[in-house]
């Protein structure tokens, strides 16, 4: 499953996207997997949500069942408009 990074998270990680996460996982576990690979993201754990298939998901117990082509993104606080 490809994970995309935007804005501040992209700067912390140093790239835009990668493929590396398990397919059945809670959103909090997903965050933990990602921060193992990119420890610099830990500092913003309380300010991000995921977007899974373009829907926002909070970091928590929600079980995600991810298909290989699903899109996951890390979303720092938004500032459009």
């Amino acid at each position: 499953v490809a994970v995309q990074y935007f804005a501040r998270t992209r700067e912390l990680v140093g790239l835009c996207s990668e493929t590396s996460v398990p397919q059945q996982i809670t959103s909090l576990q997903l965050w933990e997997e990602i921060t193992k690979i990119h420890p610099r993201l830990v500092v913003i754990w309380d300010q991000v949500v995921f977007a899974v298939q373009q829907e926002y998901v909070l970091l928590g117990d929600q079980l995600l069942i991810l298909q290989p082509r699903d899109k996951v993104a890390i979303i720092p606080p938004i500032s459009g408009g």
Partner: protein, 155 residues
């Protein structure tokens, strides 16, 4: 006069070129409806005493378009008489005084379009995955909308 030929439309654009108020107004104007309301968000030259050189916008484009389409659907549910809706947001560098977002709504009378425009910009700021980086002389800052429910404003 065949009003049914002028079907309600949503015009959504995310682009790096300069936005045009004329263009956005013209696309929502309808010969059958009398009100067009507009919101323009422009770049300020200062923030908390610091000089802003310019803004840079970035978006999760496909999801941003999906979220803006949802805002348009919600507008039509809340204000069924609304005719056309246009949301243009600029991406990339936006110099001071230039527009980063223009929202226009047409409707038979002014109340609906004024309320719909307000709803659009407020909901955009709360839900659309677009990010703004403010560039100062010596540093920069990723901004966070207070409407964003996952922003931690009391750090």
């Amino acid at each position: 006069m065949d009003e049914s030929a002028d079907m309600p439309k949503d015009f959504i654009k995310l682009k790096s070129e300069k936005l045009s108020v004329d263009e956005v107004s013209e696309i929502v104007i309808s010969p059958y409806y009398g009100a067009v309301s507009l919101f323009i968000g422009t770049t300020r030259n200062n923030f908390e005493g610091k000089k802003v050189i310019h803004l840079e916008y970035e978006a999760y484009t496909s999801m941003a378009e999906t979220k803006i389409k949802k805002i348009c659907r919600d507008v039509r549910q809340k204000w069924p008489s609304v005719k056309h809706i246009a949301v243009h947001h600029r991406l990339g560098v936006v110099p001071v005084t230039e527009a980063s977002v223009i929202i226009a709504v047409s409707s038979p009378h002014r109340a609906e379009s004024l309320e719909a425009v307000t709803y659009c910009i407020n909901t955009l700021k709360a839900s659309v995955p677009i990010w703004k980086k403010e560039i100062y002389e010596d540093e920069y800052s990723w901004k966070e909308n207070k409407e964003c429910f996952w922003a931690n404003s009391e750090k």
